[in-house]
Amino acid sequence: MRQRLLVYLPLLAFMVLAGYFLWGLNPDRNPSIVPSVLIDKPVPETSLPALAGLLQPGIEPASFTIGEPVVVNFFASWCIPCRAEHPLIARLAEQEGLTVYGVNYKDKPDAAFAWLEDLGNPYHAVGADGSGRTGIDWGLTGVPETFIIDGEGVIRYRHVGPIDTTILEERILPFVETLR
């Protein structure tokens, strides 16, 4: 009798496996996006000088604990998707009234400055991360990446890749609402 059950074992194992495969084929799943381990952790110690040429302060640890949510956007002038999401970053800062910091990741300061001149500078502060160290501290896996930090300086959300209108309206804005 036991042997009779045993012969069903391969079939059973395969069915379980097929279930995993079906789950894995979910089109919303992107195996190359790794969830951040920094969610619900305090912001990493971050002090960045202001981007050369801008009449703005840099980013200090105190910049993240201002009692209201902060958006941190990693960008670079050499990153094409950053250009695509730029109007939406501007919308976050200008229309939605959020505090948005930019981290200029591994860029030439003059190129970044020209880029912001050209597209407009929506950021309340832009820190220059020329070495990419801050990027690693934040667990960055590419640019653009956008983090949402609550008023106490704790990372609550991360988005990998460029933001589009759908993501902005369906994920980011509702999420910010919950923090306010």
Partner: protein
Amino acid sequence: MIVEIGHFALVLALVAACVQGSVPLVGAQRNRADWMAIGTPSALLQFIFLAVSFACLTYAYVVSDFSVVNVMANSHSQKPLLYKVTGVWGNHEGSMLLWVLILALFGALVALFGGNLPAGLKARVISVQGWIGIAFLAFTLFTSNPFERIFPPPLDGNDLNPLLQDPGLAFHPPMLYVGYVGFSMAFSFAVAALIEGRIDAAWARWVRPWTLVAWVFLTGGIALGSWWAYYELGWGGWWFWDPVENVSFMPWLLGTALLHSAIVVEKREALKIWTVLLAILTFSLSLLGTFIVRSGLLTSVHAFATDPERGVFILIILLITIGGSLALFAIRAPQMRSGGIFAPISREGGLVLNNLLLATATATVFLGTLYPLFVEALDGSRLTVGPPFFDATFVPIMLPLIAACAVGPLLAWKRADLAGALGRLKFAAGAGILVLLATLMFADDGPWLAIPAMGLAAWLFVGAASEWAERVKLFRAPFAETRRRAAHLPRSAYGMTIAHMGLAIVMAGIIGASAWKQEEILVMQNGESIVFAGYDVTFLEMRRIQGPNYVAERASIRVEQDGEQIAVLTPEKRFYPVQGMPTTEAAIHTTWLSDIYIALGDEGETNAGEAGWVVRLYYEPLVPWLWVGSLVMMIGGVVSLSDRRLRVGAPQPKPAKAPSGQAVPAE
């Protein structure tokens, strides 16, 4: 026009496959000879249609017909002719066409040379091949059609990924596919046997040569792939435990187990249920490989055009073929009791141990490859299972296998004398200890495990040779007697000896490459010399050259030993403007004991701040043995295949006919 013919032939192949999958099977169930006889012409027709279809696609590539999307996306008018042809299978759609072509080829081979099979078994085998054909032809036609047109046609194509424009990789896919798809024969035989409800020694004898063909090609395909990685990727690595490599390695491991367990079925009528399961699982792993590589389920360094929709289609195919065959197995297997009694210390006991270890090794690779997916599905967290895991788990399974591999062939069937067998391995033990001591003396660093492992490789090599010497009574009988015995020894025995020796050679290569590799990365200027691994290496000059579809910078680097020039190596850094992609072409000088491997990097600055070139020097001990050993293993397989009694289609004593209907209970 030609393209449309190809497209139409592909549709006709699907029609032929439908006939092949249904009529002979129904005929076999109803015992109607005329219906069963349809199997042969339909399998041949399917192959002919696919050959026409494949020829048409190849033609479109050769004449650079950019109105075909597939050609446009993967070829370029300036590409060398060889790579125009190999570009046919250098992409998803074309490689699927090759896949079904090879499948149809195997179906046609059974149809042509399966004359010695009982009509019912032959009809069922051909039908099962037909089903697999239907599934993958439909997949190709409906999701991955290589004959789609584009209008207006572009002036030129996008070119093939330059990494694939390489002789090693050009022939890696066809060999791999013959291996993968070849296991479909074992699968079809297993399913046919399950439908019939009987398995006997004759069945095992028919399955073995097909499995052996697949195994030989898969061995070659894997070796070619890692050879390519070795010289093309520019840092001398040849195996990365990447998912795409693992999915080709798993069918190889299980296929190797199948080759061995089929011997037990043939000789002892034991392990039948297990062997049928192995046959199903081996091909299932091949299908799984196709699924994983093409669905984007796992991340891999080997990018293929991945598409979740195609993934769903292949998953449905998997559910039907694997799920269906395993369900059939679950229903039928209990009716097929194996008969053999066996003692643990016997040839069959040894083969069972072989199967246990190979199956565990397969399970390890399987678990490691898919574990990140399991973890992600369960709690959303991500995990990497990389080479350190596989090294830590796979090696401890393989070492006892290698140790036992020398002993097994010396054990007699039924009940053997282990002490006697070990006694006859005294030379092997001596050689092992000798090599161990020699390694201990010469290898001054590297992992300690490499030292006994080298001894083990020598043990296996000499052990395999002693088994042969034992059988021909080398030096123990008059020379004429030895010669007579050697001539009468079946080719399959030679095949085994050669393949086991090949395994020992590969093993030595693996150990050497992973334990004692040396590396030097530095910036060199014209005329600069350094001493590396006992060689004097001089950077002579740098020159810009123009290739057919690339520009390259080529360094000339002289390698000398004791003042004598050994080689002038010319590593290149190429740039392919159409794809905008750089590649490195390493230069290798081999002494067959080791390789000097030089790859060229970017321009750099020396410590003194002067401009030079980044040069990577590798000393790769025993790496050539990897390729030599793989080749020896393949030769072993081919020699075994040429055995009179295993040769496909050779006249054999007809097995006692068991009229179907009045089925003889399989024990």
